[in-house]
């Protein structure tokens, strides 16, 4: 590959523009490219061993001003007591969070702890703060870093060794991935959401379909999405195996960012805007791979198996494993039979939250269903806003009251039941409809059985007690 050598006339994709603008040392036969990182997001789970490497080698953070830290995975979704006691699930979780506080203090990293009004899930707060911007390279020790691509940033998850690399050098060693256009034509029908769109894509190309590639979501349906919805789409790029997913910035993006705390302002804003407007893929630029998706034909989607590619329209019947032992095993784990409908299937817990679907738009959608309805008897519904800011906004709009009056639990920001590290989890064998991103075996607690779906489907399921197509309920 020949980066840095493209002539100005050669049309480039959004990805190529961002990549080429961050190459510190080009890729060669001997080494991957050295890529500069503009924003490094840090949380408690994937950073402690990296800080230890720095300490052991006597290194400092090269650019602490380009790092932001939050705590989200091991933190409780129950409130801190008036006396200041934080109800951690166990001593390990508490120690992990304490370690983050200690590390951030020692190395000079800005940390939004649980007492901060800016605390929340790492992929919710970056955009909220305006730290996530078009054209930036953004990394985090978390695979759902792809979320930030919704702004036209190149954003991807890294392992802990690489967390250490960025801390020490503000750079990463990377081979240039291939590009993959995801063309989504038409418009989503009423009651069909961004979550259904991305589940539809993963179902179509499979969970390894994007391996080695960076997606660019394009087309009328994508342009029509708001930022919260675009984040839902980009968030699950990794679930199709892609390193990252990007959406070209446009007026929707700029309107979201304008006035945010860490976004440029004044003359800096005008200068930034001029750069951002040059980012979208040039006409005539080509992609290494391409897929077309018809938005209008999409239905609300739901997963039936143990990975996000095992997905189908909510009214469909569970497909036959066709001799695949793994698919057969997945259905066995889920306690499902080929040919059965999921509509009407009993569910124990509904979880609305996670970096996929915990933003204000998601909560507004859920509230349209919960309004003047009750959570079904015997059903537990957990609603976990993605950040303090989302929580405050939801409460200002009275959404929390709708949830509480319906009988749902309104919690504090956390990754919560998406990854089940903080005590929010299913019991073995229990079923959840969850707005999160992974339905792997045991993901929501040992023996847990997860159906991934949109906030609308989750809320409709909560009020009926069984898997429900939200379009059947009036007023949605």
């Amino acid at each position: 590959m020949n980066e840095g050598a493209t002539s100005p006339q050669q049309p480039e994709t959004l990805f190529e523009k961002v990549w080429n603008g961050h190459v510190v040392k080009p890729q060669s036969a001997d080494n991957p490219a050295v890529l500069y990182i503009d924003l490094h997001l840090i949380h408690e789970v994937t950073s402690p061993q990296a800080f230890d490497v720095l300490r052991r080698r006597g290194l400092r953070l090269r650019r602490p001003d380009k790092c932001l830290a939050t705590m989200d995975h091991s933190t409780p979704s129950l409130p801190t007591s008036p006396s200041g006691r934080i109800p951690f699930v166990d001593a390990l979780a508490e120690a992990q969070v304490a370690k983050l506080v200690e590390n951030c203090r020692e190395f000079g990293v800005q940390l939004f702890d649980l007492s901060s009004s800016r605390n929340g899930i790492v992929h919710v707060i970056g955009p909220e703060l305006g730290a996530t911007q078009p054209g930036k390279t953004i990394v985090c020790g978390d695979s759902h870093t792809s979320t930030h691509g919704a702004f036209g940033a190149l954003a991807f998850g890294i392992g802990t060794s690489e967390v250490g690399h960025v801390m020490a050098t503000q750079c990463l060693l990377q081979y240039k991935p291939n590009t993959y256009a995801v063309n989504v034509q038409g418009r989503l029908a009423p009651g069909v959401t961004a979550k259904d769109l991305i589940l539809g894509l993963i179902g179509k190309i499979g969970i390894g379909g994007g391996t080695g590639h960076v997606f660019e979501y394009r087309g009328e349906a994508i342009e029509a999405l708001g930022m919260d919805e675009r984040m839902t789409v980009c968030n699950m790029s990794i679930e199709a195996g892609a390193r990252a997913g990007m959406i070209a910035p446009d007026e929707t993006t700029y309107a979201y960012l304008a006035g945010r705390e860490m976004a440029p302002s004044g003359a800096d804003w005008d200068a930034a805007l001029a750069c951002w407007r040059a980012l979208p893929t040039d006409p005539g630029a080509t992609f290494d791979a391409e897929v077309d998706l018809d938005a209008a034909s999409l239905e609300p989607m739901i997963t039936y198996g143990t990975h996000p590619g095992m997905t189908m329209p909510i009214r469909a019947h569970v497909p036959n494993p066709n001799g695949s032992p793994s698919e057969h095993k997945a259905l066995q784990y889920m306690g499902l039979e080929p040919g059965q409908q999921l509509l009407g299937h009993k569910v124990d817990v509904v979880f609305i939250g996670s970096c996929t679907n915990s933003r204000i738009q998601d909560l507004r959608q859920a509230a349209t269903v919960f309004k003047d309805r009750k959570v079904a008897s015997g059903m537990r519904a957990l609603i976990v806003p993605g950040s303090k800011e989302v929580k405050v906004q939801a409460e200002a709009e009275g959404l929390d009251r709708i949830f509480r009056e319906a009988g749902a639990e309104w919690r504090e920001p956390s990754c919560s039941m998406c990854i089940a590290m903080n005590g929010d989890q299913l019991s073995p064998g229990e079923y959840a409809v969850s707005t999160s991103n992974r339905n792997f075996e045991g993901r929501q607690g040992k023996g847990s059985r997860t159906f991934l779906a949109s906030p609308l489907t989750a809320a409709a399921t909560a009020v009926r007690g069984v898997i429900t197509d939200a379009r059947e309920l009036g007023g949605v």
Partner: protein, 192 residues
């Protein structure tokens, strides 16, 4: 990083497709701030029963595979999260290489930084390995070949030159980046 040149070992086979990082090391074991306990909890939900006892149907619990250094896994290994705890857990139970037909990007990247060799093989060769658990295999990183004792056949495999050099010499990737200080400095000056 430990030097990796050549290993000769028997294989242990997990034929399931799409083995994700939540299976390799469930999230509840990620609360450690070091690498403790990861090896014994690799594949915890498959390896141990509800009471914490060893599930004897699970290959890694069977004595004949206890010294296997090479894991042969079903298609598309390592999808899911970016947790480096996954390769740490596999190394912690004595594995040095993973063979599949497709290996997820972040897992592969993490594995290479820890001396765990990810090897992608064609479907036919993969089928042969899946069908012969415990067979001896030789993986030679210098020549980028693996040879199975089942029928003596060999297959070559791809690995990027940089990762290969680092593994052969036991060098860590951070060292290379630290040597780029001047270039990084110029980049920062040009982009401030």
């Amino acid at each position: 990083m430990e030097v990796f040149t050549k290993i000769e070992s028997k294989t242990v086979v997990l034929p399931q497709t799409n083995i994700d990082t939540d299976q390799i090391i469930p999230a509840r074991f990620l609360k450690v701030t070091d690498k403790s306990g990861l090896g014994e909890n690799a594949f915890a939900d498959w390896r141990y029963d509800a009471t914490g006892g060893s599930n004897l149907d699970f290959p890694l619990n069977q004595p004949q595979f206890s010294d296997a250094q090479v894991l042969v896994a079903g298609d598309n290994f390592g999808c899911g999260s970016s947790r480096e705890h996954a390769p740490w857990a596999l190394l912690g139970c004595g594995l040095r290489a993973v063979i599949s037909t497709r290996i997820a990007d972040i897992f592969r990247s993490n594995a290479l930084k820890n001396g765990l060799l990810p090897v992608v093989v064609p479907p036919a060769f993969h089928q042969k390995l899946l069908g012969t658990p415990g067979a001896a295999i030789m993986i030679d990183l210098t020549s980028q070949t693996l040879t199975t004792a089942v029928d003596g056949t060999s297959e070559s495999f791809e690995i990027d030159g940089f990762a290969r050099y680092c593994m052969l010499n036991g060098l860590d990737h951070l060292e290379f980046l630290l040597q780029q200080g001047a270039l990084i400095q110029s980049y920062e000056e040009a982009h401030s």
